[in-house]
Amino acid sequence: MSQVAALLIALPLISAFFVPVLKQISKNLIKPYLVLITLVQTGIAAWVFNEVYSTGKPILVYAGGWKPPVGINLYIGHFAALFVLIIAIVSFLMAIFSFKAVNIEPIDKYAMLFLLLMLGATGMIATGDIFNLFVFMEITAITAYALTAYNKTGEAAEASMKYIVLGGIGSSFFLIGVALLYGATGTLNMAQLAEFAKSINPVVAQVGLALIVFGLAVEAELFPLNAWAPDAYQAAPHPVTVMFSAFVVKAGIYALARLLYLLQKASGWSSVLRLLLIMATLTVIFAELSALRQKDVKRMIAYSSIGQIGLVALAFSLGTQAGVDAGVFHMVNHAIVKALLFLGVGYVGITLGGTKLENFEGLGRRMPLTALAITIGAIATVGVPLFNVFWSKLRIILATLNAGFLWPAILVLFASVVEAVYYFRLVHRIWFMGTGERAKEGVIAGILIVLAIIVVAIGIDPTPLWNIVTKAGNDLFNVATYIKNVPLMGVGP
């Protein structure tokens, strides 16, 4: 029965192949088809989520019936179940948004790439094999390159080219890292790799891990390798931007954390963690300072999104249970808030033509519901109490201080102050400057309000989500349980 969870991968793949067939029948069917498929995917993900959280046991899917480490296995534990659900829900919302946001041709290619992006991110989260992780990462990356360039303007091509070159270097580094780990241990299965971690030659372990961190840092937008991100966010179609910030980056940072914590027994592990700590702190500082002087709101929020991902990476680089829990909590909150913000900004961009800062003047009068939702998103991102991000930021700062890192905590707090400056500048422009005619708001405003209500609801009572998130964090941190849950052929009892 649990093998049904393989549909999480199979359904988007099969339905992506049916898009060209559907196009022959009628072009108007493609967008409703996208909504239908993402809705079914959400249903499967919700079933998997319910199954994992009610039994407390992970779902393991074996490819072709071969037990690991011979075959590839999918490991859908507490973390993967939670994020697969988030990916499916965000994709569903974006499929609805695509009706309004994507009107240029060829729509069939857009639908295929959309489904494959969802597939790639789901696979990255669910897989239990490092080479399979690489393959899913490349599926995500190649579809992301294509979707970035989808608008066919010069800017879009330029952004996509930056992403391709950096992503190409990153994936090569990642593959060298995988080759080194395979050469040292002779296995590609994550559980078996974790068992062998202690006996890896320290130099190989350190170099291999550092290369993997660098390779994944491109996807995860960490400091020296994130120059593509603001360009890609600005130039990509609006729904794609939401998908980038809500789950493509999350999949990258998850893979980073998963591989790091799997190899925590390897010698030299703490120096790799320290490397990640420095990269994460620099990411937060640089992103927030760059956001301060942006004239384009979409680009500004892109930088803010990078800054928030830096915070997650900081939490993951502490090496403590509290840090990992806080990081996962922030990932969930950030996915909701940034989906809200990019959706709102994209909607304004479509309705009023462009996302320049001037277009947002008088938005409070022109599109009150959208303006309200963007304001709630902006305030929540800064971390004001009674909004969800406040709790996760608080936990990250506390975990950083408890782990004994005073300076990263101070720098990150400073970055939050910078963040408050540019977000409140935006909110001021929306409500207290300019005037304009009332514009019509449709279904999208409804989605925005629902997201805003979720943000506030989690802010008022974070305990239910926190209980889910601690289980997911435990899944990531507690490698002994992970190894125990994967029955390895020929090893152990």
């Binding site: 080479f131 690489f134 393959v135 490349e138 990356a141 190649i142 390159y145 294509a146 360039a149 066919k152 303007t153 010069g154 800017e155 091509a157 330029e158 952004a159 996509s160 080219m161 391709i164 070159v165 992503g167 190409g168 270097i169 994936s171 090569s172 593959l175 060298i176 995988v178 080759a179 395979y182 050469g183 590609l188 603001p230 360009d231 600005q234 130039a235 760059s290 002087r293 942006q294 004239k295 384009d296 680009r299």
Partner: protein
């Protein structure tokens, strides 16, 4: 003594990286990326090599104990295809870039700033 295979593979990766970092022409950068991918594939293959054994195809006279490690070959087969897909994607973007900007010099392709 470091094996010539490892040395050559790493050297190819470094040559590719050098081209990506230093060259100004977009097509040369993409050539650099391709060279880098080739180097990585060579490294993967040479990790699975066992001195004096033959190809891992079981036929008359060749048993499992006489074959090299087959796993890296499966990995490389996948990685080659991924590399080709990336290159094709990059080249089509390069064509659009040339149409829109009229140049392939990366110092002149700079509309997105900030």
């Amino acid at each position: 003594m470091i094996s010539a295979y490892y040395f050559g593979a790493i050297a190819l990766v470094l040559i590719g990286l050098y081209a990506v970092l230093v060259k100004k022409n977009l097509l040369k950068i993409l050539i650099g990326l391709s060279i880098m991918e080739t180097g990585v594939n060579l490294l993967l293959i040479s990790i699975g090599y066992v001195s004096g054994r033959s190809a891992p195809i079981l036929s008359e006279g060749i048993t499992a104990s006489k074959a090299v490690d087959p796993i890296p070959q499966a990995l490389v087969l996948t990685a080659i295809v991924i590399g080709v897909a990336t290159t094709a994607m990059a080249l089509s973007v390069a064509i659009i870039l040339y149409e829109k900007y009229g140049t392939l010099n990366i110092e002149e392709i700079r509309r997105l700033r900030g």
